[in-house]
Symmetry: C2
Subunit: 441 residues, 2 copies
């Protein structure tokens, strides 16, 4: 234990510092309780007589009242009543965001509710989805992976064969290359950038399995194919397959969820999510790419001159403020912590800068540990809101020195025909009444 911080914190806290801190945090914060009341009936004073109905309401609590809530006077649900746990019924609104305007829902997506999430791990139940022919219901006993083509020996694996190989676990983000597309009409952080999530993945390094088959010298690309009704097929440079590519069977400790590729998926850290083929059934080693449907009209970047950029694999540095963000309400002047996430397909985040004055000036945010390569990084920035209408925004710089651009800078280079690889800054406007909206919408 840290006795330095003990004496230091404790004694400093006992006088002037505490006062200033109280001014800083509490102007619209907690309610004071008389020492006598708290000491004599502290237990009861902890309970509000008139619970506010909106959990969002941060108004001071009713004080000194003596009613006791039912959960303090009754037994709760029996232990073991939830063999696999679920969130509280009071959090039933925290779900993946589905765009209601899609024509059909076999090829569509859902977005992680970034504005509701903390830390860097996305719980499996809220991990974003992108499917091209719905979510298959695969019996792992009937699933196989074939590795063939330019190999010494073609091989067929069961899921348990794959689990026999040396295992590898790592925390990586995954992002759809269409996140968020070029729309600026996003109302919330989920709508703006919710096609990104982060998890601890466990599986086998792909190079370990390729060694098993034995690559022929002319091997240069690998064609990966999914077992779903869409038969998603993408071409992957062999260099990536022999670097950090993984065959994944578990996510955040447990087996993959059906919507994440159960029982087996490819994972290409830092590459556009579409290439991390789910429900993986086939890896064909080849000497050239296959130019599949998803590498022609889809997943290429249309440029102003009518040409398209093909094979733009890496997801470049990006960040977004998740609190306060679109659809939220800033309650009260004074101290607020600006929170958000940053990530880069090229490695670690080196810094995140925040501007609270329409981009005139930028200040460094604090990056929370651990700062991992190709993983979400949580940043925080202390902010005093004086009640004026302001625009807040963040920009990320990764370890290669690349900095996230403005949408203006991005459009100057790429025009507006493309819908992929938009990693532009998302600015939020905080109005005088505290309402937060997309500053470009």
């Amino acid at each position: 234990m840290n006795t330095d911080s003990f004496s230091e914190e404790n004694l400093v806290v006992a006088d002037s510092d505490a006062q200033s801190k109280r001014r800083q945090f509490l102007r619209h914060g907690a309610a004071a309780v008389t020492g006598a009341l708290a000491a004599s009936a502290g237990l009861r004073s902890a309970i509000a007589a008139t619970p506010t109905t909106a959990a969002e309401d941060a108004a001071p609590a009713a004080q000194g009242t003596l009613s006791i809530p039912p959960w303090s006077t009754q037994s709760g649900a029996q232990v073991g009543s939830h063999p696999y746990g679920t969130p509280s019924r009071f959090e039933s609104g925290v779900i993946r965001h589905l765009r209601k305007t899609d024509k059909q829902y076999f090829s569509s997506s859902t977005r992680s509710p970034l504005q509701e999430l903390d830390g860097i791990i996305t719980p499996n139940g809220l991990f974003y989805e992108r499917h091209h022919n719905g979510i298959p219901d695969i019996d792992p006993a009937g699933h196989r992976l074939v590795v063939h083509g330019l190999v010494q020996q073609s091989l067929e694996f069961t899921v348990n064969d794959i689990r026999r190989f040396p295992s590898h676990s790592q925390i990586y983000f995954l992002e759809c290359s269409g996140n968020p597309g070029y729309t600026v009409h996003a109302k919330t952080a989920a709508e703006a950038n919710g096609l990104v999530s982060c998890a601890e993945w466990t599986g086998v390094l792909l190079k370990t399995v390729l060694k098993e088959a034995g690559l022929k010298p002319e091997a240069k690309w690998i064609i990966a194919e999914g077992a779903d009704g869409a038969g998603m097929t993408r071409s992957i440079p062999l260099e990536k397959c022999l670097d950090d590519a993984m065959l994944v069977y578990s996510q955040n400790g447990e087996r993959l969820r059906p919507e994440q590729g159960y029982p087996l998926r490819l994972l290409l850290p830092g590459y556009e999510g579409n290439m991390s083929i789910k429900w993986l059934r086939r890896l064909q080693v080849a000497d050239r790419p296959v130019h599949s449907r998803e590498e022609t009209s889809k997943y290429t970047d249309s440029l102003p001159n009518g040409k398209a950029r093909e094979f733009t694999f890496v997801m470049e540095a990006k960040s977004i403020i998740t609190s306060p963000s679109g659809g939220q309400q800033v309650e009260g002047h004074g101290f607020h912590e600006i929170k958000g996430i940053a990530w880069s397909g090229k490695g670690r985040i080196a810094k995140v800068e925040v501007s609270v004055d329409e981009g005139k000036t930028w200040q460094a945010a604090v990056l929370q540990e651990p700062v991992l390569s190709k993983a979400l990084t949580r940043f925080v920035f202390p902010w005093q809101w004086n009640g004026e209408s302001v625009v807040i925004q963040s920009r990320a710089t990764d370890e290669t020195g690349y900095t996230q651009p403005t949408i203006t800078a991005l459009v100057e280079v790429r025009g507006v025909n493309g819908t992929y690889h938009n990693n532009a800054i998302t600015p939020w406007r905080v109005a005088a009444d505290g309402k937060v909206t997309h500053a470009l919408a």
Copy 2:
């Protein structure tokens, strides 16, 4: 991308190395497919004609058959059909373990299925539970936290008041001090040590909130009290409260689950789980401990001389092999990876050693990154099983130099009256037929 590994791996792989690796991994592994078959009908050859019914069956797959499974020929479930996702129906057996012999289930526990989990993050649905009067159903709008006693100003907080403070996220393990008790009859890793789990926690450093109230110089302990029907109460040294203690509202990105203290809990990294009071409603700052019920007959360590050790807070270094482990079946001779988890309440794990010869010799296992302080650390160890009956076991050493003891060494010091803080080595016997059982049972 790593072109060195490209040329190196690729060309090496193309000849002798591949052969040895193949011998190493594949003796009982994947089935070979003729290149012609795979090339001409690779898609179909990836599918088994006769799926094995047991997903655990690692036997070679049927080859060259042409049947296509329904999930490859039909559309799957529509996107958005699972706004909050759940595991595959084929994983319905992966749940928290409840001891069926308990007399009642208001004060009981469930264990994480360690033998089914990968990596270091425990998904929230499988995080272990220990409740003293069931699981309360708390409306966050009606919940309050009072801080009072030896403070400059007593304060009452709503959950949203707490969320206004600067946030802190960190990955920590949590373990019940009764994990596993002194029983050696555990059949599985869950039964042996499943009262430990690990998550990314988000909340506020407790010292930040204590600064707000302002501590009086005579403050030395804090009495924490829960809002459940058991009113769990524990005494915590102020040094810990001013060090890394947290007030937590989120776990693995989303709000705490009801069984983990929703909407607000205390978290004391590295301390026995019982002290990280769930459903936290009161913090009384005092000059001495309260010696509550849970600090007398419970949560003290009975010694052979009839006395008891009180306030044994720290969970010392421990590890357990989760694969292969009790109840599992080692399939086939040759290569198997021994996998497990290690942790210490005193900081980082420095090394984990594995013995596969009844403890005669020990070899260093590989620790997977990230190796974080007071978090689970995943270790792996390559093993060639020749089919003989053997005992496998792991022992952890933390950064203080402390090494996990044998049960014999522990009992010599503490006797057998105590049931808490048993961090002894768990040895597993692998029989000649591959069955794995607890070597001491």
